[in-house]
Subunit: 345 residues, 4 copies
């Protein structure tokens, strides 16, 4: 059994990681940490995990943790992660960081959208943990930057089009919608039940921090710099991201042709499902699962293609993808512990 630990396990990403890890046959969670909850039983803080784990939140230093765990998941806010990663690596731990701290390769870009980076030398070492694009690099690395939820959905939605130069990158518009768990578990008026329920809004315009992360990946697959418009929205559901992506076709691709290209691009991928012609994805069909469902439409009137991708923001958009990366890093079957079907309804 591989021993792993979760630092910052008291948020929604933390509890989801622990739910998934509980079902993994070759991994044991030996420690969960949380400054705020230290000393409390895990099952008391998260009653859904009572009877499943017999752990108590600890307030351990990263270095001490490294002696007990082979691999550590960091589920702390950005800026906090970069304060722990060097120490964990130095102590011999492999790290999957679920924050934004190591996702951008360019320290200047990080500084522009976040703050100045404290450990820029690690940015080039870190591997962006989107297995469908960077599988081999993930296997060998000691530091995975686990992708953001929005960027995961958009990268998977647009990669086949960009790789095959089927769209004009300058025309890409991404209209994304996220469930509320993406806003975290901190007490804020804005995410109170009565503020979110029966509501719907756009936010973060025009500079949401996931924009440079999306552009970095799209530029990678396009082979040249890509700049996009990205608008996130808040949906009154617990889980789910739906990204509706628009772009102008460069040629006269038909919908069946495009669907074929997508099916080939993702052939063999365990977690990407291309929907049949005429079908579009619904976040309710991926809830709790690691799938990314992708549907396409072509509008002959405007010569645009519309790609819609759905994921569970806490699974393929965070904890599930982290497990997928862990499986690759530990040499396990990539889908181990991640084959559960979505919870519908």
């Amino acid at each position: 059994m591989h021993k792993v630990a979760v630092i910052g396990a008291s948020g929604y990403t933390g509890v989801e990681l622990l739910r998934l890890l509980a079902g993994h046959p070759q991994v044991t969670v030996i420690c969960v940490t949380s400054r705020q909850q230290a000393g409390q039983a895990l099952g008391e803080v998260f009653p859904s995990l009572a009877g499943i784990y017999d752990l108590t939140f600890e307030a351990v230093e990263p270095a001490a943790l490294a002696e007990r765990a082979e691999l550590v998941f960091l589920a702390v806010p950005h800026q906090a992660a970069m304060g722990m990663v060097p120490e964990l690596l130095a102590a011999g731990c492999r790290v999957i960081d679920l924050s934004a701290d190591y996702r951008l390769r360019d320290a200047a870009v990080y500084a522009e959208w976040y703050e100045p980076h404290e450990t820029p030398e690690l940015l080039t070492e870190a591997v962006y943990g989107l297995p469908e694009l960077y599988r081999e690099q993930v296997r060998g690395t000691r530091l995975v930057a686990n992708p953001g939820c929005y960027p995961t959905s958009v990268a998977l939605a647009l990669t086949p089009l960009l790789r095959n130069q089927l769209i004009d990158p300058a025309t890409i518009i991404v209209d994304s919608k996220s469930g509320t768990s993406g806003a975290g578990r901190a007490a804020k008026v804005d995410t109170l039940y009565c503020e979110v329920n029966e509501g719907f809004k756009a936010y973060g315009l025009p500079r949401h921090r996931h924009t440079p992360e999306i552009e970095q990946t799209l530029s990678d697959v396009a082979g040249r710099p890509v700049t996009i418009s990205f608008t996130p929205h808040l949906v009154p559901v617990n889980r789910g991201i739906l990204s509706t992506c628009y772009a102008s076709l460069t040629g006269v691709s038909s919908l069946p042709e495009l669907l074929n290209i997508y099916r080939q691009a993702y052939a063999g991928e365990p977690f990407v499902r291309i929907l049949p012609e005429g079908r579009l994805p619904n976040v309710s069909q991926v809830r709790g699962s690691n799938f990314c469902d992708i549907g396409l439409a072509v509008d002959p009137r405007t010569r645009r293609v519309i790609v819609v991708a759905a994921i569970d923001n806490l699974v393929k958009g965070a904890a599930g993808q982290a497990l997928q990366n862990m499986n690759l890093m530990l040499g396990l079957k990539e889908s181990e512990g991640l084959r559960g079907a979505a919870l519908f309804p």
Copy 2:
């Protein structure tokens, strides 16, 4: 007191019309009809209206109704409306048709997106009931085609930009999201609670029937043919439409300049609110009210403007707008019976 009737009052638009009409001091509802509910008390079918109306659903013929009512609201499905309108007009009634039957001026376009039209001669007589654009025509007509919910939000969102030639019409992309009441009250698996709740999806791609209606109005204000991409989505809320509209700026307009143009364009309008810089609308803030809230953002990286408009699909998107048109047609104060604040939370 003006006497009005509602034909097809057993759907969500019907019950909302009756809620609003109950608060109007100069109008009395003398008859509600429904083939299915005929004979049942209104308060039994809609307990929310018990103690407010003392009416029973009737199964009256349009002509007979015309003798009792000065103005009739038609809240029946498209195709059904065109079977009643000629008779009502012939009997001397004025008609506000909430279906799609008289919204498109061109019978060929109607035939392309719906079915062949049975009374194409009335298409040019009908006035498209968007008071902010066609106020004077509404006052004098005997037949108002009440706009669709999506088209109302998009027309109000984009008119100032198109009128002032600030955007390239060929770049317009409209990503709209609607509450579930827009799907009607017919029993269907797709709109069952468990199918919609905790879900989110796009639908109707790439040819939703509201597209030509939107394009007709945008072409009017632009002064030339406009073709757009339009993607509707279904949101798990009862009420509300949020339309996120994208377009490339033709010049270097700043956000403050654009906001000023919007404030001037809608100065004096009782039901359009332009939000301050940095604020974006939320459907929860217009729920149950006749307001259209509009917020703007400019993305200097892509030179695109993003306009977000929020309405209640059953009020400004249907029943409220119908009352607004009724007030104009009857020579009453335009906002009479429509000044209620949104129900928040």
Copy 3:
């Protein structure tokens, strides 16, 4: 026009009071106060009220307020209210206190369930503002203790049975369910969207603070001390209270007989609707309205009666009832500004 003010207008009860007062033809809100929001425009804090009010939150002292307003609504937490009421009364204001501070007549009971009372001498002067039971006293008083949401629903549900000695008071069990707005607008993890949505729980057992308030009213109408079991639950809706009340029948009353007694007991009441036999209330049918809907069932197998009452916790359970009391105090028509139908769907 009567001039009124709202102290503590930045919570859900405050915004609902302002929504209702905006539709009242004989009353003007001259001031809204909030320590936290002082200086901010009302329409900025509550976008639903933009374009309806032209007020800015002030940080006024109660005494200063008394010079400007004839009547003041106190929408502050309990304990805070008792610090303001004496000063307001002394300055000549009439007060409707929406907190719990003046609801219990007995200072010892208040001390047992809350804290020691600072102004016990006012407890006997204050009138419990449930118009259906204490209408005449409300008219003449200068201090109304506006009832709690749960207590309003239970008092209206059980009064006809207790007045007519049809049930054994010792057998009363009240199982109540409340929408989440009842928990207020303070930022807390427990009322975050993701904690409440798709959840359902009982809370506050076995000593919720509304228990003595319920018992005080039931004892009044029964003419002898009544002790009940009361269990509140949290429902994932914004608004609404449904109280399911159980009691053993003392005789062999039939359902039609009981319904007749209820219809007579509430004959002429503008805001109580007794549902027909076989119908039970739904909070969705009173949302946004001041109605209390009551339905009954009799179980011949157990000789118990089940009374189900539904209100909107923010309207008949708070702000609407406060307006009803205001109308009585100011000698206006009791239903003025309160005749709006529920918002359904």
Copy 4:
């Protein structure tokens, strides 16, 4: 691998059974049937199962099915089940019937609450599949009547009290609340999204069909006839049942004593969690899992005990319990395929 089939797999219970069976290492689903969906791929009808099953809905006769499957799950409406069970048993299949047809042992009681029974001779053979009470009988039987969702929650909530004669059975009142998936997947106006969302109601009073099933089990454990009051309510969540049970204590049991009795009663049970003192269950903490969470409170003022039990109606209340029964019947580990933690949030 044991081969099983699911008859009537196109409802919510069916899709949940298939979700759970997909994660069971020793069982294969060889056939799913549905008259309406025959010929359609499973993943087309239920996109959540795409990529997980490679099955197509068939329209097989029960007898033909028996040749292919060792055990059959019947997820058809009551009355339909009794038309298939005899044939399946005769063909040598073991059957887990998720309908109500074989739950009541007394044909006269079935006739009183449902219709006359067609195969009353099987009623005594069928085993009521609540493993916590009837584990040994389940192991040996060829016909399990899988319990209803409400009855499961109530039986587990009240058994320790009744077995130990700690309450007066005549005082039991059960106030239950159910998520909307319990109403099934048939298209009905009453369960449309807009009818259920933001609503809350009691229904089925005073004679819900689960009443005799609850009473049969409680009478079993009490050792004498028990008659209860049972009120079901509809909650706007997809999944979950919360039963709040009231009864008068016969003695002076303290809360810690009662909690000890519960912990002992359910010691070793894999799916019953007794919550610590001061904690009450929330359906959100069992969503998607087979757990039943139980919390207690004692009200010294009224000498009543309040027991609150939470389950997922589709799991412990239907499909999960069916798997638990299957495991017992097939001699597998009882918790196999059922150890997943709840999906929170």
